[in-house]
Subunit: 430 residues, 2 copies
């Protein structure tokens, strides 16, 4: 057979080999009701500027496992999604309480992380194409003048020092109306960002210096319960159970008993649900730094004892996360198998959905050839497979079966928006 052009487009058939899911067909049946509910929720709770949501689809369960409010990775979206992103940016900024013409994006301090810088270039272009004068204001300590970086894609990034003058933020004489944070503030909120004249979105206290996964998944639990009641399904189908340990020190082995006790109770609770629904898998739990990101400080365990059996290397890996921050709190989250594979059998994948304003604007699969279905895929060796445009998650196609791509992606978009709503409530509660 001769290869045709169509075959060069990523095919997700193999990534979507799971059993036809009751959740998916229910979500399709109730589309109008679901969209109406979302509309009324967005009227009550303003939505964050943007987010990316990592999902796991186990077939019997689809759940968000991480909600990033300072998403990188826009460079991994299909460029065909760009008009959708631009329109969503326009709509988000239009809704702000003041007119915005000039924007400064405040990025992470990376200067050598090429994929991140490509993300930044895409973000800047997106705001520019949406019709805003857009510059990049760096927080890099000691950056005195602009730094130009040429990227492999041919794009060019200009990092300029962001400075405070009286109560205003500036790049030289450029005074933005709005600062868009793309820095998760893992190491804390810089003083000079506090109480500035200009609007900063998302707000600085959504950074990981203040935020915790436990709080987020608490809000998510409420959202999942309301949504499940709307559809008359068990909220467990869409909600990962979790426990929490408030004082841990992996190096000093402090808090170990809290961790193992919670792992035990969580594994039991999962087993109970597995028994209820005839799931024959072995339960597992993910221990995660409660304020961690970049997939750091994450491990998979399938017994309480595993917590005690960590070797020094494993402890070190769990103890510190991004920018050398120490881990002092942990969330123990129900492990959700991913039943999605990509390409060759056994190459596991998980969908990542991107949102701007209240809109799903695209997504991709995170694929990891060296990981198992019960492991963290956000780790070195992963790569990304873009979703093709006409398979984007914005709308279902009722003329196709519930597990057809547009329909499965619609379901992913719904679950991602539930996580977005949890984040919206989290933001409102600050």
């Amino acid at each position: 057979m001769v290869a045709t052009a169509a075959e060069t487009v990523p095919h997700l058939t193999t990534a979507l080999s799971g059993p036809l899911n009751i959740i998916e067909s229910t979500i399709l049946d109730y589309q109008a009701r679901i969209e109406s509910w979302f509309r009324s929720e967005w009227r009550k709770t303003p939505v964050p500027l943007y987010a990316s949501v990592d999902l796991r689809n186990a077939g019997y369960k689809i759940a968000p496992i991480d909600t990033n409010l300072f998403p990188g990775g826009f460079n991994n979206l299909n460029p065909a999604f760009e008009p959708l992103c631009i329109q969503a940016v326009q709509s988000a900024l239009e809704r702000l309480d003041r007119p915005v013409d000039r924007v400064v994006i405040v990025p992470e301090n990376h200067t050598r992380n090429e994929p991140y810088l490509e993300n930044l270039a895409v973000l800047q272009r997106m705001f520019e194409k949406a019709g805003f004068e857009t510059r990049i204001g760096s927080l890099i300590p000691g950056l005195e003048k602009e730094m130009l970086i040429e990227l492999d894609s041919g794009s060019r990034i200009r990092l300029e020092p962001l400075r405070r003058r009286d109560s205003g933020l500036y790049i030289n004489d450029f005074r933005p109306d709005l600062l868009v944070l793309n820095n998760d503030l893992s190491s804390g909120i810089p003083d000079f960002l506090q109480e500035a004249d200009q609007l900063v979105i998302p707000p600085v206290n959504l950074g990981w210096s203040d935020r915790s996964k436990t709080v987020h998944f608490n809000f998510y639990r409420d959202v999942a319960q309301e949504f499940a009641a709307l559809l008359d399904i068990d909220p467990w189908f869409i909600d990962p159970m979790f426990r929490n340990c408030g004082e841990v020190d992996f190096m000093k082995r402090a808090g170990e008993s809290c961790l193992s006790r919670n792992v035990e109770s969580l594994l039991k609770a999962i087993q109970k649900k597995y028994d209820e629904y005839g799931v024959s898998h072995e339960p597992f739990a993910m221990i995660k730094a409660d304020s961690g990101t970049y997939g750091m400080g994450v491990m998979s365990v399938n017994s309480p004892e595993a917590v005690h059996d960590l070797n020094r290397k494993q402890r070190t890996k769990m103890a510190t996360i991004k920018e050398g921050q120490k881990v002092t709190k942990a969330i123990i989250q129900e492990g959700v198998y991913t039943n999605e594979t990509w390409g060759s059998p056994g190459t596991v994948a998980e969908p990542v959905v991107y949102l701007i304003d209240q809109n799903v604007v695209g997504g991709f699969y995170r694929v990891h050839p060296q990981r198992a279905t019960n492991e963290n895929l956000n780790s070195p060796g992963m790569y990304f497979e873009r979703l093709a445009f006409d398979e984007c998650c914005i709308s279902p196609d009722k003329e196709q079966s519930p597990d057809a791509h547009p329909n499965r992606f619609y379901t992913y978009g719904v679950i991602a928006r539930l996580a977005l709503l949890a984040a919206a409530r989290e933001t409102k509660s600050l």
Copy 2:
């Protein structure tokens, strides 16, 4: 040479063979200023739900020649634009002063106009995918029960009688929150649509029974002047001049002297502009029924005498328009040559831009192999060429030349939005 896949995608190179335009490069240079201006205008004046704008690009001039507030032809958009349309529909309905879950689309009374019915199927699907329960409520006199129509595309249309009960509008027991007019009400506003409990958008008095091109182009003239001042260009570059005759009867030859006098004065004014800018074309004017649509009641003249020389057939064609309405008023509009051709030399084309809410969501070329560059292309024998998605008019690409496709289409999107703004002010003035 072997044909490749890429060649099956419409190429607009030949349609874009015009001279590089000062207007286009100015618009590109001032993108941020233009978008900022549009944002502030949309804050002042709410935008109509949707519109399609016919443009003419003469190279030395780009102007809207018709603004349709009840657009058909959504079926001619590239299906890849659908997510953009859906997002724009969500955003438009979100901005209304009341929550909307149920929608009724009120279409034209056509039952055999297959392209129109395909448009209707696309519109319905768009609202459904945007998450609204959507039905089609027909105004067809005497329609007692639902009418099912199978379309060549495989879509199926269900027309149901729209009825008034007390102050509410219904399809049987289905009570919509919103009625979306896709009927231009050429024959007048049905009584039972007046002062209903539910919101009707666009408002009924924007139908052609009340609306006139003269009023629209009066508003457009103001918009063009403000925009031209912003860019420091001659407003004539984007504004077709026009005159108006208030009492004409083509069959009785009434108002002929008004027409010829105005044609004469308009042709002189055009010649003056042509002289100023060194344009060597022959001026021409379009005489149009002031409330006409569907390309009916339109003719091209290049001398005042032409008005007197009309034969009986030509008079008959000018005298009545859609749904047998009599023409009593006429607009005499500056003829704008189209310098765009499609495919074989001499096959003229004009762009049609579609807008939902304040967003450009797509467009196509109206192509007519039997027409000249100074004739009405909206006539039997025309066909449509879709714009490819990545060439959509939503954003410019500053790394390319001003006449590269995304940039020329961006310019078209800007001019179309100027016409939309004129329509917004027209709506506000009702």
